[in-house]
């Protein structure tokens, strides 16, 4: 393979024109913001499911972070299980949001569990060693079973 750097022949270039205002994602303030999680109240915990299979867009991640933060703040002692069923891609920004949520949960003496993580996504947690500080369980049943203390 001839490296791109130093190559004399420019490859085909696609200029992607702006299709709307750039760098800014507008939400109509009169409308509720789109949610990217589904919250299921369970007698044992609050279950969070993602509605997106790719958690990589910064706007999506910020919105997920805001919703999870509200969930934590609204509970005196949160018991949250986040299931990754259906999630195919995850970025480092999403990891950062999960860490922020974990820190808030810990500050309220609550519990956070992650579960149903596929092998490729699990590898991301292992590479970054976040599997050592985020409690990851195989599935929802084991995540619920691992929750201790008062409901």
């Amino acid at each position: 393979m001839t490296p791109i750097i130093g190559s004399l022949r420019a490859p085909d270039v696609t200029f992607v024109p702006p299709q709307r205002m750039t760098g800014v994602h507008f939400f109509d303030m009169a409308q509720p913001q789109q949610s990217f999680i589904r919250i299921v109240k369970d007698p044992e915990c609050t279950l969070v499911e993602f509605t997106e299979k790719h958690i990589i867009d910064e706007v999506v991640i910020r919105q997920i972070g805001n919703e999870l933060t509200k969930l934590v703040d609204d509970s005196p002692r949160p018991r949250i299980v986040v299931t990754f069923k259906g999630v195919e891609h995850l970025s480092s920004a999403a990891l950062g949001t999960l860490l922020t949520v974990m820190n808030r949960v810990k500050a309220k003496d609550g519990q956070l569990r992650l579960c149903d993580i596929n092998a490729q996504i699990l590898q991301i947690f292992q590479i970054t060693k976040l599997n050592k500080i985020l409690r990851i369980e195989k599935d929802l049943a084991s995540a619920k079973a691992s929750l201790g203390g008062n409901k």
Binding site: D12, R20, E58, S92, A93
Partner: protein, 149 residues
């Protein structure tokens, strides 16, 4: 057999560049084209996953840290795919930076800090990751593990 991406030769070789502003639609279009080209060149799911992840992290770094979120600044992506490997060059309009200045996110004192894992993930999934002087030009290479030697 997957359909080749636009501009992809019959033997799977693909070479293309994009000039992007920070828009999700544009980034998804690029990712889709690269994914199609990878499939057209015989790359499997593991390679697609790794390259999508590395490209996403490179783009976020370019727009966020390189261009400092300035919506009028561009990121250029050059992509070259053949049966031996995938080369991506990502260039932002920033002043560049020293990748050695990024602290190890797996160190005990940094493990619960929410940021700083993008470069680490790129290094983990790609065969080589290098920032070229002055640091606003990133070259990443994925060597096809199934390539005929």
């Amino acid at each position: 057999m997957a359909h080749p991406a636009p501009g992809q030769s019959h033997d799977g070789r693909f070479e293309r560049s994009w000039v992007l502003l920070e828009q999700r639609d544009s980034i998804e279009g690029l990712q889709s084209d690269v994914n199609d080209a990878l499939a057209g060149c015989g790359y499997g799911e593991a390679a697609s996953f790794a390259i999508r992840l590395a490209l996403e992290e490179a783009l976020v770094n370019g727009f966020r840290h390189g261009n400092k979120g300035n919506p009028s600044k561009h990121v250029i992506v050059e992509c070259k795919i053949d049966p031996q490997g995938v080369e991506l060059v990502v260039i932002d309009e920033g002043e560049g930076f020293d990748p050695g200045s990024v602290p190890d996110p797996t160190a005990d004192e940094n493990i619960d800090i929410p940021s700083g894992r993008g470069i680490m993930l790129m290094r983990a999934y790609m065969s080589s990751v290098e920032y070229l002087h002055p640091g606003n030009r990133l070259r990443i290479f994925y060597s096809n593990p199934n390539a005929a030697s």
